[in-house]
């Protein structure tokens, strides 16, 4: 991450005043700054203008499809766009907190956005991602959610065949239904169309790891972390890939950084425990795994099941009880 986009907004009657500056991380100097006075109808064009300005001032790779996307609004409905942006907040919140409620709140907003503009391809793509995330991480109705995710991804691609996010969403579905070759091809296309998307590399790495192509998986996740290091999720996913390429100590270090930023995230604690366990650091692992269980509370999230992996054989009884509890859901 070399630059930060900083901004403030102020609502004055019907006008929204936005002040922005793009700041260099290395020097702290502003690369570019500007102020806009906007009314509701100006918001869509403003987003496109802003994206162009940011790209002009950064040395980032933007594909032809991304350039094309920036040259026109995603939707002509400001209300639908506003709902879509709010849904993105919840998508990010899920990646921070792993809460099912975040996925479902975001989904309601996307369904409303699509009801307002049925041709809104990006909203379909995000909706597909939402169903796919729930299917992969929560067992209840997982087959139904996966089918919905695939159907909505196909609709997004029908609306816009060059939408990288939709290829990526479909890739995640293919990986989950066992069509690994299709998943990898689809994810490669998604990453080629949106080379600055952390999600594209996240899902590409996910598909590679199911294929056992662990070196490629690690590299894809490394790129995803580089593009967006802000969510704990991307760190435990990268940590898992580091474990698979025999770099469990690096995985531990990555999780220690993540836990400093997100001390109450149960998956971070659980995966740190796992990486310690595989290095034979059993006492430390047990503390971290126990912490993961405590923080998990009553969530039906399946990943922290790993937290019940006992470093000590004496914990076998509680492990059996936890397995029974999880599998009875």
């Amino acid at each position: 991450m070399n630059s930060v986009l900083e901004g403030t907004y102020q609502r004055i009657g019907p006008v929204i005043r936005i002040s922005l500056q793009l700041i260099s991380r290395d020097t702290g100097a502003a690369r570019w700054a500007s102020r806009y006075d906007l009314r509701a109808d100006d918001m869509l064009k403003f987003q496109d203008d802003l994206a162009q300005k940011v790209v002009e001032n950064l040395s980032i790779q933007v594909s032809a499809a991304e350039h094309q996307a920036m040259s026109g609004p995603m939707t002509r409905s400001p209300e639908a766009y506003n709902l879509y942006l709010q849904a993105r907040f919840y998508s990010n919140e899920y990646k921070m907190r792993s809460t099912l409620g975040s996925i479902r709140q975001g989904r309601q907003l996307l369904l409303q956005a699509i009801a307002m503009d049925p041709g809104f391809a990006e909203a379909h793509s995000s909706l597909s991602e939402s169903y796919g995330m729930e299917a992969a991480n929560f067992q209840e109705n997982s087959k139904e959610n996966l089918a919905l995710s695939e159907a909505v991804a196909h609709e997004a691609l029908r609306l816009n065949p060059n939408l990288g996010e939709a290829h990526t969403a479909l890739c995640a579905d293919f990986a989950e239904i066992g069509r690994i070759e299709d998943a990898i091809r689809c994810c490669r296309q998604g990453a080629a169309l949106t080379p600055s998307s952390d999600y594209a590399y996240d899902m590409l790495g996910y598909a590679y790891h199911y294929a056992g192509l662990v070196e490629l998986a690690e590299r894809a996740y490394s790129r995803s972390v580089e593009l967006n290091p802000t969510t704990p999720r991307i760190h435990w996913m990268h940590g898992r890939m580091l474990l698979y390429v025999s770099r469990s100590h690096d995985a531990e270090l990555e999780m220690r950084q993540a836990i400093a930023a997100s001390p109450n995230q149960y998956r971070v604690a659980a995966f740190l425990g796992e990486f310690l366990y595989y290095q034979g650091k059993l006492d430390e692992a047990e503390k971290s795994l126990t912490r993961g269980v405590e923080l998990r509370g009553h969530s039906s999230d399946i990943a922290p099941l790993r937290s019940f992996m006992p470093p000590a054989a004496s914990a076998a009884r509680s492990m059996r009880a936890c397995l029974r509890c999880a599998l009875s859901r």
């Binding site: 239904i177 056992g212 698979y244």
Partner: protein
């Protein structure tokens, strides 16, 4: 919950390796077979994961692992690795 009801390949594998740790061989193998069916074929990790050490000499375990290897080699041929 039965293995056929679960669609996530990480979850099925994790359940399998926990049963392997507990020494419940048949249940562990059921979840490992399901992992194979739904195409989590992470052979480089599976063959090294210490949680399965007690089953290494089991013929059914070896058969499933050979299937993972066969898939992995096909993916490597098509997509490369590294």
């Amino acid at each position: 919950m039965r293995p056929q009801q679960v669609i996530d390949g990480d979850f099925t594998y994790w359940l399998g390796d926990m049963y392997a740790l507990l020494g419940e061989k048949e249940t562990a193998l059921r979840w490992l077979r399901r992992t194979d069916e739904i195409s989590n074929h992470n052979y480089p990790w599976f063959e090294r994961d210490k949680n399965w050490n007690n089953l290494r000499s089991d013929s059914e375990y070896q058969r499933i692992l050979a299937d993972f290897q066969r898939h992995w080699e096909r993916y490597r041929e098509e997509f490369g690795d590294g």
